[in-house]
Symmetry: C2
Subunit: 745 residues, 2 copies
């Protein structure tokens, strides 16, 4: 490919982007699409009417809004995870601005003038003339690359340090928060030992009131919620509705008695076992009565235990309770909406086996994914295809079909397979048995990240079969040289990848293609006017974080080898900054907060990118016989590793643990303000495994205690596991939506 | 080598062993050697007079005694580490008894009859005829090897499981202990932040009395103990001795006042700052007075903090104190004699750098060690030697010198270099900055283990230069085949290695060659009669554990390949069992207890051995083209890894953490018995950085609180860092020894 080609391709892509973004700016103003583009605002009901004339004029107002939004707004609306994600983009923009300047000043001229050549017209110059391939062996100018790598590494490390420190501070502020968060008073206990004499509930009470005498407050059992169980509950619900209508008036007093008796059976703790919504509703009364009378044996070996102070809860969560480490396993409780209820009932002794199996499955999936890739690649070779499927010969002789099959089908197949990756990884993460949605998403994010870097970078670099790739990795000592040979060759491909896949992904993201088409289909084909069944989306960190980090990885590894990739990357990150901010502001609902735990992933990924780029540089300088430059890379490599270890020591503990000082200060503050009693009352109705419809209102009020504004109050906590691929179906969707409204201009 | 040769060699070695052990049984009865062979008994002064006639008759009484000693005795005398070590030997004996039977029944006949051969006289048969080399390619009989490996793996895992469980129980009993251990009430705080306004002492007091209000008891600063510092203290001591003799009578009252004033400056906490011995002695009074008045600025950023309960101390030790993880770093305090004082003053922010540097140094040392090995190997080739050192040509032509240089010198050089390994590793572990001697020893043990397995096994298997070895490891996928080719060839060498080096090391161990010669030298050449300067030895776990585990490793890897090694190993382990028990009973003094933390090392080492042997089997079956057997190894490999992960989940936490249940039960027990006040009093005088001579008596009384019998009361805690290579010089050695005595018969 020559410069002209690249410029043409860029032009087409820019045109495409401008077109799509204009289309977006029109589509978002259509009332029929409001639940596609303003999901979050729908949830928080802040929509304003739009003039009919404005509706069909493309306007860049969304860009202005996204640009003007402050970090505090993002924090309030999207939580700390959104801020962490936005910081990744800010870091990338800063980093690649510096890298672009350095590489265009230092590296690019050296590359271009690397060989004496008949200067052609620059636009006709091959792109290879701008890569390190063009520099002669033993050239004295390789110090420029070495210096550029030094500057890039030092800039990256400096920025990383300040970002990590900033995120640590934000996390601290998030933990301290203005309003008390009752989930800080709760821990989750798994692996409660089964005894013949007493129920799990009694066992928990006995254990904690003995060993945490002064700080134990109460507890709440978790019930098995298998499919059969769910059906039973639903069945009971229906039965009781009937039952209560007929009998309730007469039997109310009797039931109250039985209920209170059964509650006192287990004392204080049991009185809160899954009674969240208050006892105002007669139907609930009946259902719960039925539940208690018949289902007392369905407790699982898991419970929430509440403590009188945050510090006590934290200490209890950290401790090894007994000398058998697989019994009484304690963890800090996630926020109510973050709890992944169906995983809570998994027996703890299975967890390690599940982790190992899913690890194995993920690795296998990652490696076996080469098969569809090679199949898709095979489609481009017609003769092979005809041999494999002789009956296709006649079809393939038609020119149109031929072009379709060889030019179009491979990409479609690949894209389809790639689309399947995040859901598969999410499924694997679900099977791992994480107790919270945010940790599950983080785990899926990591898996997708490994998958992407492996399949986009390494598979492309060492193009070929699985075996040849694995054999490259099997000979560790030859890796730098192999990479050094392969990466510059693939640099052009990566540049076009950023141009096409990167930019297009942003356009797709802002267009919300799938929800848009589904909405059109529903509205104009199914003629449905009911918006109540819409899904509201949570931010798909597990797909977007790996994508951004992958582009960062490509940027670092290609920077000194083929600097032409950098301006495209810089444009990508700038656009991404605006697009994702817009999405956080308008589209995605924040139901739970992972507490910025995505940042360490980004940090580690950048360090990994730096190390890979240094190893490649080592290989390249080796191939170019520049021993001095090679020698200078070694201290850089060691320095980067030391920096990483230092950051892990200095900042990572704050992302894993909570500090005594912080917790005790918070406890004292609340004690001083006399808030504790109020919090204790809230705690009991905070976690609700089987919410009834009437309970959702009390849930909402509980939301205001989570240190969030009413902006991201989350509706129903039990979402019937629809969060599997990032889509939480909000069954409590507001029906009384003011329509058509839009705070669009 | 043929069977005859092996038998001859065995005979010679058995003869040598019998001779040496007889010599030992005589030497140990000589009064002049009592401090070589009865160091521990000297320390505990339990010696009995021996008849002069008995003294020169070899007797096997020590074997009987070692055999009859129960595990409880070992626990009482040598602590949990000695029991863990003894369990390693018991495990090895059981394991290799089973392996010997299985391999002699299943594997050996298959190997021997592997090829049709003219049956020679068996004694003249080459040893290779008994290895797997003798089995033909594609033989149907390879299932025997596969089955044997299955049986060996399953036996090993079963035994490991029960041993780990047993050790976990013992550790629990050790922690609970009959007598309260005041060190359980203490934590060590490092990285105390420096402030201009107040001293470290005030800062500590302020922090802990605020955040651990209800449980904080008191604290004790650690002082910088550089060389200059030590000299100053000694100087002050001398000065004050003089000073006190002259002035003390008159100034006693004045000093008491000043002292108490300076104590109250810092409140309760400061009153215990390094005042351990009680204030009974006027000299101490004067010295400490001087210290306080002049040295108040020499506090380091480290302190011991005492709590009112064990649970509180443990929780404080586990917690992250502030959101800056490199300040206020807390750990459980080691036992007083286990504290490595000179490392306590290392600024905490250096520790991570020290760890990394020592890791790098250890790896470099491990790899670079090949240089003396190749140099020693080079000595066996005379022509090369003559080329390198032409002036030696005349010397080397003499037959005797020739034999000496080629036959003897290489081994001597190697042995000398190998002798340097444990001290070097111990030095590296010291530089790492561990706070306790037991952890330092454990760390050195790990380093020596890696070193030994690498240099004895892998260097021998892939004999040659560093480069060729590294390149073997660089191509991971070819490793099994490479090992499969190399190990059976080296099996004969390993057999003779067990025979010679293994058995001889035991003879050396029991003879205590170095101390014996030093004793003879001192007694008959220096004509010294003063026994007070003798060193008492602590058990050199860092040399003996790696040796035992190495032989286990050789046993597992060679078992199905060359089963002839097994009876020799079995004999080695049986002898080791007796010898080491004898040494624990008589020679080594137990000053501190590592709490059985050596067992996880042994466990991991056995698992590693199993996995290596399975990988080798995989390679061998691959080379022998027995795909079925190869296939059967894969599930075994996966099963072993799963077993390892399970054990790590199930047992390892009990070796890292203490359980809430255990700690609270202990606290309640002592509260119930009214022992707490007594313990609080003891706590203050428990840790003593600069003990005075008069303090040793109070130290001794403190020892009885450490859950040990008076049998291993340890004398002075400050041993001037002479423990570097496992030798703690006991400067408080008993002078009033009853002599000659011996509880020998």
């Amino acid at each position: 490919m020559d410069i002209n080609g690249l410029l043409t391709s860029t032009g087409i892509n820019i045109g495409l982007c401008v077109g799509l973004f204009s289309l977006y700016s029109v589509l978002r103003k259509q009332p029929s699409n409001v639940n596609v583009y303003f999901g979050r605002r729908l949830a928080s009901r802040r929509l304003r009417h739009v003039d009919i004339l404005e509706r069909f004029v493309p306007s860049p107002t969304w860009v202005k809004k996204a640009w003007e939004t402050t970090q505090d707004d993002i924090l309030t609306i999207g939580g700390l995870d959104a801020v962490a994600f936005s910081r990744m983009l800010v870091f990338s923009i800063r980093m690649f601005s510096v890298a672009t300047v350095i590489c265009f000043v230092l590296v690019l001229p050296v590359n271009y003038h690397g060989r004496e050549r008949l200067y052609k017209n620059i636009p006709l110059e091959s792109l290879e003339a701008f890569t390190i391939e063009n520099v002669k062996q033993g050239s004295r100018w390789l110090w420029a690359h070495c210096l550029a790598l030094y500057i890039i590494t030092i800039t990256a490390c400096t920025l990383l340090y300040f970002e990590y420190r900033h995120l640590t501070d934000l996390r601290l502020i998030h933990i301290i928060g203005p309003a008390p968060n009752p989930s800080q008073f709760a821990i989750l206990v798994r692996g409660i030992p089964w005894s013949q004499e007493s129920t799990y509930c009694d066992t928990v009470k006995k254990f904690f009131s003995y060993y945490y005498e002064s700080t134990y407050l109460s507890h709440q059992m978790v019930y098995n919620s298998g499919v059969v169980q769910k059906l039973k509950v639903l069945h009971a619900f229906k039965f009781c509705r009937l039952f209560s209508i007929i009998y309730f008036r007469d039997n109310a007093k009797h039931m109250c008695k039985v209920l209170s008796r059964s509650m006192t059976r287990c004392g204080h703790g049991f009185s809160h076992c899954c009674f969240c919504g208050g006892f105002k509703n007669s139907i609930d009364f009946a259902m719960r009565y039925n539940d208690i009378e018949t289902d007392s044996r369905k407790e699982s070996g898991t419970a929430f235990v509440y403590f009188k102070t945050r510090y006590a809860a934290y200490v209890a969560a950290q401790n090894l309770q007994t000398s058998h480490p697989m019994l009484w396993v304690t963890d800090l409780a996630p926020e109510p909406n973050d709890v992944y209820w169906s995983n809570l009932c998994i027996p703890y002794r299975q967890i390690w086996l599940r982790r190992i199996s899913t690890f194995g499955a993920a690795v296998t999936f990652m490696i076996v994914f080469i098969i569809p890739v090679t199949f898709a690649q095979g489609l481009t070779q017609l003769d092979k295809l005809e041999k494999m499927f002789p009956f296709l010969t006649r079809v393939l002789t038609q020119k149109f079909m031929n072009q379709l099959v060889t030019g179009y089908l491979p990409s479609v197949i690949l894209v389809l397979f790639l689309l399947a990756v995040p859901p598969v990884m999410m499924l694997l993460s679900t099977m791992e048995g994480h107790i919270s949605r945010s940790i599950r998403k983080k785990s899926a994010c990591l898996k997708v990240l490994f998958f992407t870097i492996w399949n986009v970078f390494f598979v492309n670099v060492f193009a070929g079969s699985v075996i040849s790739q694995l054999s490259v990795f099997a000979s560790v000592s030859e890796l730098p040289a192999q990479l050094a040979k392969a990466v510059p060759v693939q640099a052009t491909y990566f540049t076009t990848y950023v141009l096409s896949s990167g930019w297009a992904s942003l356009a797709c993201e802002i267009m919300q293609v799938c929800p848009l088409f589904y909405n059109l289909f529903r509205r104009y084909i199914l003629r449905s006017k009911d918006d109540s069944e819409e899904g509201t989306l949570t931010f798909p960190y597990h797909t977007e974080v790996p994508r951004v980090l992958l582009f960062g990885f490509l940027g670092f590894t290609c920077s000194i080898l083929a600097p032409l990739i950098l301006p495209f990357l810089l444009f990508y990150f700038s656009l991404a900054y605006l697009v994702y901010r817009n999405q956080i502001l308008n589209v995605y609902v924040t139901k739970y907060d992972g507490g910025g735990k995505l940042w360490p992933i980004a940090h580690n990924s950048v360090i990994f990118s730096l190390i890979v780029s240094q190893i490649i540089a080592l290989g390249v300088f080796g191939l170019k016989r520049s021993t001095v430059s090679s020698g200078f890379i070694i201290p850089l490599l060691i320095g980067t590793i030391l920096f990483h270890i230092y950051c892990n020591q200095r900042f990572h503990p704050a992302f894993k643990n909570l500090a005594t000082q912080v917790l005790i200060d918070m406890d004292r503050r609340d004690q001083h303000l006399g808030k504790m009693e109020e919090i204790y009352e809230q705690v009991h109705s905070f976690y609700c495994q089987f919410p009834t419809r009437s309970a959702s209102s009390s849930e909402r009020s509980a939301g205001s205690y989570r240190g969030m504004t009413s902006d991201h109050v989350s509706p129903a906590p039990e979402t019937l596991d629809a969060d599997n691929d990032g889509i939480d179906i909000n069954i409590q969707r507001q029906r009384d939506m003011a329509w058509p409204l839009g705070d669009l201009v």
